[in-house]
Symmetry: C2
DNA sequence: CCTCCTTTTGACCATCTGGTCTAAAGGGAT
DNA sequence: ATCCCTTTAGACCAGATGGTCAAAAGGAGG
């Protein structure tokens, strides 16, 4: 249904209209995080933003354009958060790096929980729809994760016998769902503890036999 | 939008119309597994099934009724598969039991991949919608898993220090996404190997330090 | 043949969808 | 005041939506 991925404001080299119009940004985020692309009503969004048809279509090609622009802005915000962090902290081991990313992700999710809902919903859209989006933004997470895991193996942090493919899949699904698993109304410390535990499980397993290194005593 | 959860054929104590009408079953499954409830077109479903409006509404109250009836039939089929298996195999340890369930789930997914797509999509519908469904069918998986994990802890198969809540969440998300992680066009043996590996990760982790028991040698 | 009940048929309904288009309003610059 | 371009405004469109309804067809028993 949606045409090629293009954003009017980018082709005209102007600013993202969603930056300037807070009401529209809010309305679009609300709608697209609660309903699928097809189910969300453009009319409702426009009305909620206090706009009218003409003004909307003056700035956007169509509904898809709005959706892409929304993804663009949210992606930029998250990227900024991550980049700011990356500048401060150099890369450590694999598991520490993953943990940092998970915590940052959760912090962002607490700031804007609808973004995670939105991107999770995006993954359930049909394939052609997702392809349009991927042709616009690419599909980082999968590739980045895979590379990180291979590096972790090379550095001897990850057991070489686990398949990169499976490990990538495990981390990818857990990271996209993590904000559902770990309650959002926790304080920072509790979140940290939960993430620690999750990483510990991925590192050492849940089985009684395999000892976690931080507690070498009894067991 | 959808009203209370009721199925006309159940209130009239007749057979599930989806059992008798293969075309309708097929059309509904196809539609609801590819699109969300709101996005799927009832008109299209009816047309694809070679029905007409009147006949449809003679058997169902509304669109939701069809959806519930579809879930009902699919749930029954999966339940039958699991029950047949449970009769043959007594319960072993926790991880073996989970593995069996995962394999059965994957086998069912290969028989009817659209069912998993459907139930995964259902989880992304809005909350009131999910509540209608839960009021009809309950929410087994979460409770069952939690109980299994507590039992596993009691029997000393799971490390007592991992939180039941987190472990439940991990297994729940991995089990619902497993048919996406493990390629469906594998033969039975390859699937078995992949599931083995996944379970091994959950048992002993991916970290190089923690040794898996099946390979005690070097590393 | 008639009767009675179940089932089928499809025209029809109000409502909503994303999107178009013409007309007018704003607002600088001259 | 006049010009010109950007922006707003909202009536309007064809098409699709889930759902209703009165009428006809089918079929079994008498």
């Amino acid at each position: 249904m949606p045409a090629a991925g293009r954003m009017k404001w980018r082709e005209e080299e102007t600013a993202n209209p969603l930056e300037g119009n807070a009401a529209l940004f809010e309305a679009a985020l609300e709608a697209f995080s609660e309903k699928s692309f097809g189910e969300a009503s453009l009319n409702d969004i426009i009305k909620a933003a206090g706009l009218n048809k003409g003004s909307f279509y003056y700035r956007f090609y169509d509904k898809m354009d709005l959706y892409l622009s929304l993804l663009y802005r949210l992606g930029m915000e998250k990227l900024k958060l991550f980049e700011r962090y990356d500048h401060e902290n150099a890369a450590e081991g694999f598991f520490e790096s993953i943990k940092d990313k998970a915590i940052l992700g959760l912090r962002f999710a607490r700031m804007e929980p609808r973004y995670n809902a939105l991107s999770r919903r995006m993954l359930t859209e049909n394939e052609t729809f997702r392809n349009v989006i991927r042709s616009c933004f690419g599909d980082m997470t999968q590739d980045v994760l895979s590379a990180m895991i291979q590096e972790g193996k090379a550095k001897g942090q990850i057991d070489a016998s686990v398949s990169t493919h499976l490990a990538t899949a495990v981390f990818a699904t857990l990271l996209t769902q993590i904000d559902l698993m770990i309650s959002p109304n926790m304080d920072d410390q509790a979140i940290l503890a939960q993430v620690d535990e999750l990483i510990a499980i991925l590192k050492h397993g849940m089985c009684t036999n395999s000892a976690a290194p931080k507690d070498e005593s009894g067991r």
